[in-house]
Symmetry: C2
Subunit: 399 residues, 2 copies
DNA sequence: CTGTTAGCGCTTTCAC
DNA sequence: GTGAAAGCGCTAACAG
């Protein structure tokens, strides 16, 4: 039990700033400068005035709306003098073009959507970060929404993003088999790319890790170490990625004539401890553990420590998916590493390929759907029985 | 050095799906159903037809646009029969209202913006997740953008979000003192709340951790343990939060008559190792380390391990900001914990308070700017010299 | 209950 | 170089 010293509490200081004093009711313009929404609330003082519009700028600069439009779009075909004047007015008014109005005119929205299970998940947040970088490079805004792997929320998110008229969509489907989802996606009027998990029976492009190969390779590695009773641990088994990893594990153990033992009950630390303790006390105690996801690896690791099991001496541990401290703990934890950022980057690039392709009405090459599979790599640390050359030199990495 | 086994490589499978076969050119409507963008590219086959509009729905359902509008907004004041028919058409066409058009009409956009340094940072991604939950509860979309603590990117982001007409904005300012930023924010026509770091000299609401108190409390804790040469380590010193923590550390050591030693050179593992090694070899080696941020804590921890320094026997360690494995490593790392999710939640709630307040033209209470300060708590694990009752029972927590 | 109509702020011909 | 005017898709009066 951790000790809590300072109690959690909230201090709220109220500063009685005069709400009204913030009001700046600009009316330096012509006769019709005060219209519409402004006029609707004549007595009630507003905190802030509504944002200035392009035509207000035009009026105050004494030019037409077309000119202002040209100015905010690069300023071509506008005389230097006019340009300067308009720019000054824009600056003075703090004018910002209304994206909605532009969108309505049918131009691209320059936004793409990303639907992932959670922002707080390191894997997906890294993907998101990478995708965002690509989006920025294409002068686009990435809108991230979360589904928590709930097919309902997922569809809801698609609707929201569609209403916002994103130019394209990236999605990590909760369920690769979901027909409703597939149909909905197929009907979308914008390109879609699946990330981390494919959409089955669909022409939708996808970028995924080779979970099968990665898991098979890892299991083989354990087999090569001489372990004979390798148990596969996970807390989840409906996700595409997990299933693939299970397949990989299975392929490896079966072809080696080693028993296949899958335990999908690891939901938290408690269940990990319980499960591992039972196994070790059982008839055929495992000599190696292959954990299929981050949290499972951590739970298993902690349980092993708690139970005073020597790793890897008594029981080896190998996890799928790397995490920051896997190299810092003792023993350091061997893992199958996924090219996280590359996944995010490649996915976004694929999407923009399609976007650009359809814009130019491209021929051949862009008119194909790509299924990209990225390879994993096995990071050999101590927990699987390997002896890394230098224990700490890989620390400089995740700075 | 870690061993890489499988090489990173990309497999690209190209499926030559017929691009053209995906074209479904719907023209079951009246005479003017094929206009504008449709007509502009008459020969070039399109991947997808442009999204249907409200008036298309109206025409196909044989009703007026108002009726359709009513249907998509809840279906009040529409006869059941009409309602059903319209809904059917909407379904058939896969119609989705165009958010941009709604926005243009002046209604709220139901989007709020969040500007944080990075999505991949666990602290901020957790904040974002919490804020998103609040936004959802208010039927709003949260748009997250990243500044990487670059004032330029920050302003750029504000512009982008303003163009998108977010209803409100949450920002973690790169620099609390930045005048340009403050002025820009003050001119914004929507409410703004600062997160994690305040905006100085401004009426802008903020939600921050009490970094000063947290750090002072932590340092005192080390002092209470009897440490006499407590060194404060960080890699950054311009951030508001870090400065506050330094102040807290300073206040504690000075009032205890203990030397104040600050090392701001810890940028990565290497610098941590170098710095710690030098100190330990020096005249007055530290007996405790107080690290001001996550990564610094980890680097210091790893360096201590590498250098075979016994923790906390020879040198104690206490870090600011908790992280997932702090309790799993041996020795477990004591930290000052921030109420991360609460920060995100409270910030978003504050923003919506302002949003709702200004909408109803509220009186008194909502018309004040709040500066909320949330308290930290000290999590006593092993690295500071404490002996937690049970080493593992706090594991069930961060599942 | 339902339809007509007038814009929201902007881009974009098409004249000047 | 510049501007007038016609909408983009939708909502909100205001009639029927």
């Amino acid at each position: 039990m951790e000790l809590e010293i300072a109690h959690l509490c909230v201090l709220v200081h109220l500063y009685d700033l005069s709400w009204n004093s913030a009001v700046v009711y600009i009316t330096m313009a012509g006769i019709d400068s005060c219209y519409r929404s402004r006029i609707k609330r004549p007595t009630k003082m507003q905190k802030r005035s509504p944002p200035p519009t392009l035509s207000e700028v035009a009026r105050k600069a004494g030019v037409g709306t077309t000119t202002v439009s040209r100015v905010i779009n690069g300023g071509d075909r506008v005389s230097p003098m006019t340009l300067a004047r308009v720019r000054r007015v824009i600056e003075a008014l703090g004018y910002m073009p209304n994206q909605a109005a532009r969108v309505l005119k049918g131009v691209r929205t320059n936004t793409i959507g990303l639907i992932i299970p959670s922002i707080a998940d390191p894997f997906f947040s890294s993907c998101a970060e990478a995708a965002q970088a690509v989006a920025r490079a294409h002068d686009s805004l990435l809108i991230v929404t979360t589904s928590h792997n709930d097919p309902h929320a997922e569809i809801e998110n698609i609707h929201i993003l569609t209403r916002h008229r994103v130019d394209g969509l990236i999605i990590a489907p909760a369920n690769s088999q979901n027909q409703t989802l597939r149909d909905l996606l197929d009907r979308l009027s914008v390109p879609v790319v699946a990330i981390d998990r494919p959409i089955s029976n669909s022409s939708i492009a996808s970028v995924v890790t080779d979970n099968f190969k990665g898991a098979r390779f890892a299991t083989r590695h354990l087999i090569d170490h001489g372990y004979k009773r390798i148990v596969c641990l996970t807390g989840e088994s409906t996700l595409f990625t997990i299933q693939e990893r299970i397949r990989g594990y299975r392929a490896a153990v079966e072809s080696a004539g080693i028993p296949y033992t899958l335990d999908t009950s690891i939901k938290d630390y408690k269940s990990a401890e319980y499960s591992i303790e039972s196994m070790l006390a059982g008839a055929n105690p495992p000599d190696a553990l292959f954990t299929l996801k981050n949290s499972t690896t951590i739970f298993a690791y902690e349980a092993l420590q708690k139970l005073n099991v020597r790793v890897p001496k008594s029981v080896a541990l190998l996890g799928f998916d790397d995490f920051e401290l896997a190299s810092a703990v003792r023993p350091s934890i061997s893992v199958v590493q996924q090219p996280v950022e590359e996944i995010g980057r490649v996915t976004a690039e694929l999407l923009f390929d399609q976007l650009l392709g359809s814009r130019n009405g491209l021929p051949a090459h862009s008119k194909r759907t790509r299924q990209v599979t990225l390879e994993t790599r096995l990071i050999q640390r101590s927990s699987c029985g390997c002896t890394p050359a230098s224990v700490s030199s890989d620390k400089a990495g995740p700075s």
